[in-house]
Amino acid sequence: MNWTKFFIAFIAAFGFMFLFGFLWYAKLMNGAHQEVPILWRTPADFGNHFSSLVFGHIVMALFLTLLCARFVPAGGAGPCATLGLLVALVYAGANMITFAVQPLTTKILCGWIVGDLIQFTIAGAIIGALYKAAPAHVSFVKEGPRQGV
């Protein structure tokens, strides 16, 4: 494992996921969420639980980075974006179950699914672009005299 690149990829993924989450779920979907106000904490209560939101994003970014590092050790934005998309499908499934048991609107369900697909695919691509496993071994070859030099 290349820990320096792993750490850089994790920080970048966390930064993106947190920023995207704020823009998509808190800003863009705010109107849809307000259609069912009973489901959400009050702003003051949310402030008291803000650390859970930050820690949750750290955990998500960290384990997505770990997953990419194990799944695609060679790195690469494309393969890791594909992995991110598949991971997003797992969470899309969980969102569908939540829709069946909580009084969410279909607009919220669709917003969450699309948001997860975009968020995890791009986060995967960022991780893949930044992370590459360290080579298993480095061999040094003594260079011989070049002909004609």
Binding site: I38, L39, H49, G56, H57, L67, R70, A100, Q102
Partner: protein, 137 residues
């Protein structure tokens, strides 16, 4: 492909039964503490197909990830994948906990049961699905 379908069906049956046992029986008393957050029983039954589709999507994506990157490792790799996915899901659950007035013990028991569930799903998928090369050699 045959093993993919077998792994999918076996893991799906387990997830369905586990979901029913956990949410329908074991955690029932905790859900009752926050009735405003949940649909009525009748409403849930009318939307039951979303649970079936959602669980199928979770299992399908799990088997796809396993088959395309972890399959050579067998049961252990399946369990490892399950743990990684579930811990990331705990992160997402914590995000929901920050915005929804869900009881803390529901977050805890849901996460604990999620880890157990995904370990078993990983073991099932890892035990059944084998890549073509591994089966022919």
């Amino acid at each position: 492909m045959k093993r993919f379908i077998l792994a999918f069906i076996a893991a799906y049956i387990f997830i369905f039964l586990w979901g029913w046992l956990l949410n329908g029986v074991l955690l029932k008393d905790i859900y009752v503490q926050t009735p405003n957050l949940w649909r009525s029983q009748d409403e849930m039954m009318s939307l039951f197909h979303w649970i079936i589709i959602g669980q199928a999507l979770i299992v399908f994506a799990f088997v796809m990830i396993y088959a395309s990157g972890f399959a050579a490792g067998g049961v252990i790799a399946g369990i490892r994948l399950g743990v990684l996915l579930e811990i990331a899901a705990i992160g997402m659950r914590m995000g929901f906990y920050a915005v929804q007035p869900i009881p803390g013990n529901l977050l805890f028991y849901g996460s604990l049961s999620g880890v157990i569930e995904m370990i078993i799903v990983g073991a099932i998928v890892g035990g059944i699905y084998k890549p073509a090369a591994a089966r022919t050699s």
